[in-house]
Amino acid sequence: MTVVYLDNNATTAVDPEVLAAMLPYLTEYYGNPSSMHRFGGQVAKAIQTAREQVADLLGALPTEIVFTSGGTEGNNTAIRSALAAFPDRRHIVTTQVEHACVLNLCKTLEKQGYRVTYLSVDRHGMLDLLELEAALTGDTAVVSTMYANNETGVIFPIEQIGQIVKSRGVLFHVDAVQAVGKIPISLHHSTIDFLTLSGHKFHAPKGVGALFVRRGVRFYPYLIGGHQERNRRAGTENVAGIVGLGKAAALAQSYLQQQGAVAALRDRLEQTLVAQIPDTVVNGQGSPRLPNTANIGFKYIEGEAILLMLDREGICASSGSACTSDSLEPSHVLQAMGLPHSVLHGSIRFSLSRYTTAADIDRVTAVMPEIVARLRALSPFQTEEEAWLQSPTLATHV
């Protein structure tokens, strides 16, 4: 059975051209780019080319690109650098729907004496800019928000946010891990000070990413050591990964025009499922969204069970359901949107890529009605009125 891979927000397939570009740097060109011989020097040139390719995709300068190990490192580095730049400020503003690497870093920083404001979102997954304005104080060092949400694909109004942030003299970090390669990004005239990206979300391998640091923004490295990356990120370069990231960035640039086709497939998936299956909702539908992401709530059933049913059909998707992780709480993103419990636990994310075909979508729409019907036949809930099960502390009182 061929696999239908609709979990591209988790990770993507390495593009064959990316792999081809990388392979020589895992075999014959194994020199250290810092070495004082041509054998190493040619590797340094390859890294420079990759830096230009990534900068081109972002509309940035090559000197503004720092290669990292991925999204987590980029986000940690940017936020800590911003705090180091304002040693007297103890306040951070972020949102309730960030990735774990930002949220857990903020929780750690709270223990170290920082104050963090977690901005709320509405039921469409959108921020209230007035809440942002009210949150900023003279003590705020950095605002860190996503460009687009990994679970729902909802895109934040980054430039509007940036205008507010910059007008208050605060540093602005954007986690663009899900946005890069899916929507056009131009940093040249942007308000963004730091922007994080990760290679494996757009067909480069895992373990490589980049942090954009605006020219003129004071930067404090996270990893201390050698002089690599112009003293901004110590450690011998992940050469093959960086070359792959560069190639993936160049390819992403050329595929950006095709994102409309991805969106058309995504829309077809959503529309067909909603039309075929009662009590089905598209989460975040009212907001601008990434072209590739569909987050669909199937009421009265549980996400992990749906995923295992899909898995048996060779379909890969994901769920923020409590049962899919060590956490017992359902998706913090969908919770922040205030979705009802009936939707929270039964939401599935299908995330497409440029490799997704109409046949893939048809496979999903062919099996999904049957899967949902089977699980609903097992479920004690058929309506929102099943009061005895709405709340754990109410259950025994009814």
Partner: protein
């Protein structure tokens, strides 16, 4: 991805006994339901039992489950396990028995087996008109975990039955502490209490409280039970009234009482029925 056993996957993909049992008021049979969990908690089970009243035996069992793979498999396993059992035999089923039937569950999924055991008890106790302390109505202050609605008594029992030693394990088995985490300190206290070696006085108090729970059920049958003495692992009880005069009841009762005491007080204890010295 969770490492589910073949049995779990089989019962998930091909669930046995799903559905409801309608109460058709058939003479000689009773239909009861046990409901645990909530949609807010992420899993819920409604267990249906059909009971042969004269034989005190479960003749049919069905389930409706909202939950993940292991919740559905645990529910289905439970219905397979209880069919044909007397109610006393069914009450002796622990969550560990469900786990064993399933060929194991991932640690983080143990609460699915506890949910099965609780639904079974709820259904049977409801049929018998008794409310055991760990499943009863709860006043606000008795909740330990308000995120998932878990009481002190539930936690204590799961610790005893599964010999849990860490708060993390308690979370795996009951979900308590898996939400905001603010009750974890309380869970630690309950753990310390439950795992500390008991003095004789504590043993006697605990035995008395278990017997007090069982007493209404015995009294309904015209009998009663009293603690006579505790000597090492030997717990002597006096069976009174109808219980004391019926030989077969003495054997069953001794077993039921022993089972419950082993689960709730300490696992090595042995119950013996004695006649009071007059």
């Amino acid at each position: 991805m969770w490492n589910y056993s073949d049995k779990v996957l089989d019962l998930f993909y091909n669930p046995r006994n799903q559905g409801v049992i309608e109460d058709t008021q058939e003479p000689g049979f009773a239909v009861v339901r046990g409901e645990v969990g909530s949609i807010a908690c992420g899993d819920a089970l409604r267990l249906h039992l059909k009971i042969d009243v004269a034989q005190d035996r479960i003749v049919d069992a069905r389930f409706q489950t909202f939950g993940c793979t292991s919740a559905i498999a645990s529910s289905s396993a439970l219905t397979e396990m209880v069919k044909g059992l007397t109610l006393d035999e069914a009450l002796a089923i622990t969550n560990q028995d469900i786990v064993a039937y399933l060929g194991g569950l991932p640690q983080q999924k143990m609460h699915c087996s506890v949910m099965g055991q609780e639904a079974l008890e709820k259904a049977i106790y409801q049929y018998r008109g008794i409310t055991p302390p760990h499943l009863g109505e709860h006043a606000e202050g008795e909740w330990v975990c308000t995120c998932f609605g878990v009481t002190r008594e539930q936690i204590r029992r799961v610790i005893q039955q599964n010999r849990l030693t860490t708060a993390e394990a308690v979370t795996h088995y009951t979900k308590a502490g898996g939400g905001c985490g603010s009750c974890l300190r309380l869970v630690d206290e309950i753990l310390a209490e439950a795992t500390a070696p008991m003095t004789n006085v504590q043993k006697i108090q605990k035995i008395q409280s278990v017997l007090a729970d069982l007493r209404p059920y015995l009294q309904a049958d015209g009998g009663d039970v009293e603690l006579f003495d505790v000597h090492g692992d030997r717990v002597s009880v006096v069976l009174k009234g109808a219980c004391g005069s019926c030989a077969s009841r003495v054997t069953t009762l001794k077993e039921v009482i022993e089972q419950r005491l082993r689960q709730e007080v300490w696992p090595a204890l042995v119950v013996e029925a004695v006649r009071p010295v007059s």
